[in-house]
Symmetry: C5
Subunit: 352 residues, 5 copies
């Protein structure tokens, strides 16, 4: 949550194209280039950014993965070498972007949100991943060195799924696909959580449950906020408007289907959540009701008896009953009869 609120932040009053990194300062900085085609594969840790220029060769597909956006200078240099528009560079560095896609003459620029579920705080964290798809290269820019893209790297190494035989658009698809897959992981967690909430609200509702429901709702809201723009991006990609996306088009449609399904699930969760608070309230009402009943029964049974005791506790001189031999036991019996009569009455009225 905290994150999502900071995300509002934006640099006020600076001219567009001003390169400012809007995230937290971090240590990690690493540029990894993977260069491959059907026949070979090369993985290089880039030290000097000028090396990047050497990957421009269109006969191999190059994937340059930049981790650590606080190094504004590095991003700027890459931008210059590959001729990226200043606004693109600005968007890469401003990690509070909405997912979007932008078509340029020579490349496509994509901003996506990678989601992560923090098991401790039960909050959804999002990290921005920017991608640039060119003729024979894909750039990925991200803040933190997480291992999300490792499966892709392995697939390239082992040429699993014949990835090395295909173009840069297929690589882009594989990267986006893995991001969408992470949405499913979160949906699974949320699904477990909503199941827990459902049983909790019925068996053991407390004020904590209310807070948990509220937190769950906030998570859903965050999720939707990421999922809908993602859907737009993939809808665009699967339309095939760009000359840069050719053979991978059908795969993008596949990912698009996954996104719709994810959104369906989010909306289903939303619908299911909406009645949880009502159930909570109805269960609280029920409890109050139960307690009220007990109180009323106690009062209704004992108050009249107390009155009787009070009456025979009066100090009038002339109270004939007081003199009777069996006055006392008779009163006790009368009390018992009244008490039992009331209990019977309540049982009949189904109050007990």
């Amino acid at each position: 949550m905290k994150r999502s609120k900071k995300e509002i932040g934006k640099k006020v009053g600076t001219p567009p194209g001003t390169l400012i990194y809007t995230g937290d300062k971090r240590e990690e900085f690493e540029i990894t280039a993977i260069d491959y085609n059907a026949s070979g594969y090369r993985k290089i840790k880039v030290k000097d950014i000028d090396e990047c220029a050497s990957f421009k060769d269109p006969s191999t597909v190059t994937w340059i993965d930049v981790v650590g956006l606080h190094r504004v200078d590095a991003v700027e240099k890459i931008g210059k070498i590959y001729n990226l528009h200043p606004l693109v560079l600005e968007d890469i560095l401003n990690i509070h972007q909405r997912s979007k896609i932008e078509y340029f003459e020579d490349y496509i620029f994509i901003v996506l949100k990678m989601l992560n579920y923090d098991d401790k705080s039960h909050e959804i964290e999002s990290e921005q991943v920017s991608m640039v798809l060119g003729d024979s290269f894909v750039f990925t820019f991200r803040e933190r060195k997480l291992d999300i893209f490792d499966p892709i790297r392995e697939r390239i190494e082992n040429d699993k799924g014949a990835i090395r035989k295909r173009g840069a658009d297929y690589l882009l698809h594989a990267l986006i696909d893995i991001i969408v897959d992470h949405y499913y992981i979160i949906l699974e967690k949320l699904g477990e959580e909503i199941e827990g909430l459902e049983s909790e609200v019925i068996t053991n509702p407390s004020q904590d449950t209310v807070q948990a429901i509220h937190k769950f709702k906030s998570n859903l809201i965050n999720m939707r906020r990421s999922a809908w723009p993602l859907r737009e991006v993939l809808s665009q990609l699967s339309k095939g408007d760009s000359h840069l996306i050719t053979e991978a088009l059908i795969y993008f449609r596949d990912v698009y289907d996954h996104t719709i399904q994810a959104i369906d699930t989010v909306e289903m969760f939303r619908d299911m959540t909406s009645s949880l608070l009502d159930i909570y309230l109805s269960s609280i009402s029920n409890k109050t009701n139960e307690i009220m009943k007990v109180l009323t029964i106690i009062a209704t049974i004992f108050i009249p008896l107390t009155l009787i005791a009070g009456i025979y506790g009066m100090n009038f001189k002339y109270m004939p009953e007081l003199e009777w031999r069996y006055g006392y036991p008779m009163v006790l019996i009368a009390m018992l009869v009244i008490g039992i009569g009331m209990v019977v009455y309540f049982k009949r009225k189904k109050w007990m």
Copy 2:
């Protein structure tokens, strides 16, 4: 419910086109081929999948019904023989798909959700049925050997409704029609349930009612989630964009109408459910109110009388009333008068 949550599951990080069956392991495996035209009819239990190639003859309509998706190899082989795209095969095996339709050059691929109402758990179960419509063949792929398609098989055997004189598109229509019919069966069950809930919430509301309403809502949500994509699929089919659907077009429109009507009913149920919980809450409030009244009446009548008894129970030396000959009966009468007066007052205020 449980099912719907697992449905989120998806294979993370595998390349597209990887054939993995995502359902539960099952025993049943059976391929039935029905080959017919106006003049004849043949039904074969396929043992060796290579036999399937022999049905390619375009002069007869062939319906190949594959039960048991855990046999990934079988599905793959069929895919090869009939030249199906790897993504299609992947979708057939991934039983957590959203209903959808995809047009290929030589065939149409359809994923549908078959719904079943479990009378014991009061839950809606869904099973995925994938269909491939070709020039002269229809494939159906499903997990479990249920008897849903038996009526169609009979119609072909007896040539009821002249089904044998028509093409593969008409067969597809018949199969989809029967799936849509099952939606109506469930709607009928839900209709009975909502009627029960309505009378329960009014005559005998309890915390169980709340849970039943919640479960009913979840069922409706599940139902909607299946019905809306179904509608999309049928809308597509009834538009007649494909050369594979010709004479059956008008029949698809008919099924489309049925789907819309089903959705109408689901939405009507949704609207009707929405006020059930409110009625429950208002009825609980009413009960609390009734109990409060009883308590207040009891307290208001007896507490003052108890005070009077208390007063004459005081041990002051000089209390003239205590010496009076008729002090005691007078006090009793006074108590009676006060008590009756209060009852009259409450009756006038319509509290009793």
Copy 3:
């Protein structure tokens, strides 16, 4: 309501075009043909369905009104004579259709819902009316012999509004117009009801009010469910896409306007209903609050006094006050002062 739930029913597993009447068995069966043109008018009770063929003459407009759909054979025969598609006949007999319009080459097929308000059960009943508009004829098919179309019959007899000078499309318009008019009658009833509910919920709310509101909502839901598809039908008709509708086009636009206005009113009622239950709940809360106040005041005033009485009822040997000459009246006065003081306090706090 009951009706609307049965309406879900649908024949499962039969081939399309199978003629099955889905309504209740009834006795009434009657075919009335009215044949007219500017110069003349003829009304015939059709005994033998083959007579119908004689009305095919395009120089006169023929209106054939079929009452009693349980006579499947009759409907089938008419279908054959006038060359109606089997699916049309099936839809005529299946009285659980959604309102719709279908264009065929030689005729237009329309299904509408005629609404009736049952004054006893306060429920909206719907009856299906199917219509077929041909070049020079209109068919109406309905279950029950109600008198809804009598005004049209009279207009034809008396040539009121010059109906006899106009074509079959104008006749169709007149028939639909009268159906839409009945929606207005129901809206008037509902309008009265909502006014009654509004004053009831404010002046004299009870659990019955809640049920009445719920029933009213269900009626509205039913009404909407009929009105929206009706709107679609009339929108289609007023677009003038068919060569069968010519001079009557402007009149269909008029009816379309009426339908929109009816829907507007239904939606207005919906909006108005939505807050009724809230008002009910707030009024119950208020009542509980009032009762709580009374209880609290009684308890707060009398419990301390009872304590005082209790104290002087103690049997200690050495209690100097008990010996005082004016101890008793002093205690009584003290009690009075405390009681009055509390009343004053509560009045100041605006609790009384």
Copy 4:
């Protein structure tokens, strides 16, 4: 409100084009014709409707204002002279129309709702104004002789804003503009009312507040119901589809903007109202809570003390405390200590 419900009324079963006035019978009847062009201006009280024919001269703009729709004959005569379609005349007389616009070959027919706020009943009244725009004339038909159009009359007299130099379309714009202006007056009243409700619901909520909120909501619903169709009419007018609207087009766009802004405000009010009832309920809950606290505190403090008094009021022979010299004061002190202890406890628990 009452009005809005009667508005449902519609003549059932009459042929279209039957001229029936559906409003209340009134006395006022007046036809005023204003004839002007850049050079001159003429105002005539029309006695004989046939005079109207003389205004047909296209070189001057004529505005004929008909007040009093109960004179069906007059409307019919005008319709004949200016060749208006019977359905138009029917719509003019049926004052329960939805706002709409209809294009005919020679003229445009517009129905609008003029709104008025009744300061006494706090209800919005609507009056129907029908307008016909021809080549060089504008008709206005309305029920009551209100002074809403007086500013326009004055502007024509004084040629303010050069209105006399412009065509009939500009006149139409001026008339509609003044109707839209009245929506703003009502919005201002509603704005004041919602402000009042907001402070009332917080400072002094009562059952009356609930009713006032409900009435306010009904007013908003009525307002919306008039505003949205008005928007449609103006959207149509500002599209410039008709040859009758030329130079005034930009002014219609201006009025269209105003209408959108009015709708924005209505929707804003709707949003703001939605939480008022919730606040009311929460404030009632709070009050109940407060009262409960007082009751509980009183009971909790005094009931134990009463028990102590009761114990020492028992008549056992052997109760040593009763014989003690300082038994009585010790008990009193004990009571005091217990009472104070409880008050302290409650203060700590923040209950007091």
Copy 5:
């Protein structure tokens, strides 16, 4: 809030194009002209409005910033010099406009709402800024001399971001960009507020919280009301329909993205707010419940004991227990046992 209600105000009955300033009278009046191109820069405080004509030179970009709309004469004069339509001038002076864009042949007219968050009253204030974009000039009209445009002025002075090398459309973009930036500042404030409300409603809910939630909601409503039309304006601008916007097009798309993101955030806040009041209510219910429990426990424990004390306080002659030697301690022990028994019972029932 107050502002937003006054905003409804509109001049009733005046002809369009009548120039009336609808805001509050103010003192400030200032016209600043900035004239620049790549090579130079000139800033002039305009005294005589006729000077403005001298800036018409298309070789330099001119930005004329008019503060103080009460000087209707000045606005009118500028309108005449630059040939602006009277309706444009009217809209500039009517500060209660909805954000909009209007295309004219030679210029584009834009109305925007500048938002400000008043930290004291926690209310959002809006100020109208009208802009006119011509071939080589931009006009800005506003009521108050705030410093919002100072960063732009500085950028022009220092040619930061090469603004001086670009055209008037880029200047317009810079001005709008800064207005949109202010929306983000407000979103940040609202974000902080909603976080505060969330923790308040859980830890320390009071009637004040309800009011704060209501105020927050009103602020959101206001915000939405400004943001959506703003989005429309920017959507229009980024479509590039006008010949006046050329090289800045891509920058407008950037601002459009920001606007969508802002709206996303507003909608997210709306979703989050919706459950706050529910949580409040549930927390109040919980408290009432707690108090009820205490009351019931006290009453249930002490009332029976009081009855016992009352019984042995009765004055019957023959009550054997009273004579017993250990009658008194036995009763006390009995009371203790009953009391402890009840406490144990309640503990088992989890009431304590």
